[in-house]
């Protein structure tokens, strides 16, 4: 690179002189670039170097970050779709409802799965047992109050 002696025109004295003077003019013009354009050239260089740096790092990290996010989403989805987790979640919600202290043991034996919307029935379970045990109510004729 830059080995100018292999120039085919160096054999001609006149051409060599023209080349030499052309280079001298060019070199002088390059040395005398005004400060405004010299500054802009420096800024252009910095911009090119800076623009390339984040571009390459983004290109590296984007797939990794995307993959990590996909794995997290998949893990959360699988965890939520497992039936035992769903029951546990539901039970946690049920247990958080206010229940009388004496009813807890009996009720938990009789309730395989309780939704939060059924909590009123669970709380009044004793009432329904008592109601079922009343023969007068169960066998009462229709319109008996006449």
């Amino acid at each position: 690179m830059n080995n100018l002696p292999d120039n085919t025109f160096n054999g001609l004295q006149g051409d060599a002189e023209v080349e030499s003077r052309a280079r001298a003019v060019f070199r002088t013009a390059c040395e005398n670039v005004d400060s405004y354009h010299a500054l802009r050239l420096g800024l252009a260089r910095r911009k090119a170097l800076n623009a390339a740096a984040p571009h390459s790092s983004t290109r590296l990290w984007a797939p990794i970050a995307g993959g990590a996010m996909a794995c997290c989403a998949l893990a959360i989805g699988v965890a939520l779709m497992r039936p035992d987790v769903r029951i546990a979640t539901t039970m946690n919600v049920a247990s958080s409802a206010p229940i009388a202290a004496g009813q807890v043991d009996d009720a938990s034996d009789d309730l395989p799965e309780v939704a939060s919307t059924q909590m009123e029935m669970v709380q009044d379970l004793d009432f329904y047992r008592w109601l079922a045990a009343q023969p007068s109510v169960a066998s009462a004729p229709r319109g008996g109050n006449r």
Partner: protein, 213 residues
């Protein structure tokens, strides 16, 4: 800032005569045939080449702002796509990118000028060519600076008169100092083609720049 607006500073018929006087001022400069060292980093390479690149683009495009855009684009493309290449390959790659960018801009300008001429917008209401802004002379040695600018303007004008491929061969081979192989890489042609283009460029310039000797 427009530093080499030869059309405005020098009458077309007196370009060569003014260049003779101007060249006397720069003839004493040492030869620029020294081999340039290989830059260790991409930043060092760009810093070393940016002024020459801008001057080459300015000669080819005759517009400092377009030349600045071309150089910036070439820098960006080199850094983005070829930063991993060996440092020895940066000069032909960079000059190849810049050459293509300059060619694109020249082609766009040709189309634009045709449209402007066709629509009659290249001149003002008095049918005169619109003037270009010229930078004020702020150099420490105005006569010498003027002589340098005139010499550069005369040379630029002569180079711009060449066909595009001859122009590229002269700029890369003679002014930038790339060897034939690297010039061929930058131009995307064979070494033989480079020599042919350069031979024709020198034939044309020899007559235009006869008074340089």
């Amino acid at each position: 800032m427009r530093e080499t607006t030869d059309a405005e500073t020098i009458p077309a018929s007196g370009v060569v005569m003014n260049a003779v006087a101007a060249l006397e001022a720069v003839a004493a400069a040492p030869a620029a045939d020294a081999v340039r060292p290989i830059a260790a980093t991409l930043e060092a390479f760009l810093a070393s080449v940016e002024r020459r690149a801008w001057r080459v683009a300015e000669i080819a495009l005759h517009d400092p702002e377009e030349a600045m855009d071309a150089v910036q684009d070439a820098m960006l493309r080199l850094v983005r796509h070829y930063a991993g290449k060996p440092a020895e390959e940066w000069p032909p790659l960079f000059w190849g990118i810049l050459r293509r960018r300059i060619t694109d801009l020249q082609r766009r300008r040709t189309v634009r000028n045709r449209v402007l001429v066709w629509t009659g917008r290249a001149t003002n209401d008095d049918n005169e060519e619109l003037p270009a802004w010229e930078a004020p002379d702020l150099g420490p040695d105005p006569p010498r600076a003027l002589a340098s600018r005139q010499a550069h303007a005369a040379m630029s004008k002569a180079i711009r008169a060449l066909p595009r491929r001859q122009q590229q061969a002269f700029l890369l081979r003679v002014l930038e100092g790339l060897d034939v192989a690297d010039t061929a890489k930058a131009m995307g042609c064979s070494a033989g083609s480079v020599k042919t283009h350069l031979s024709r460029a020198m034939d044309a310039l020899r007559t235009q720049l006869e008074d340089w000797r």
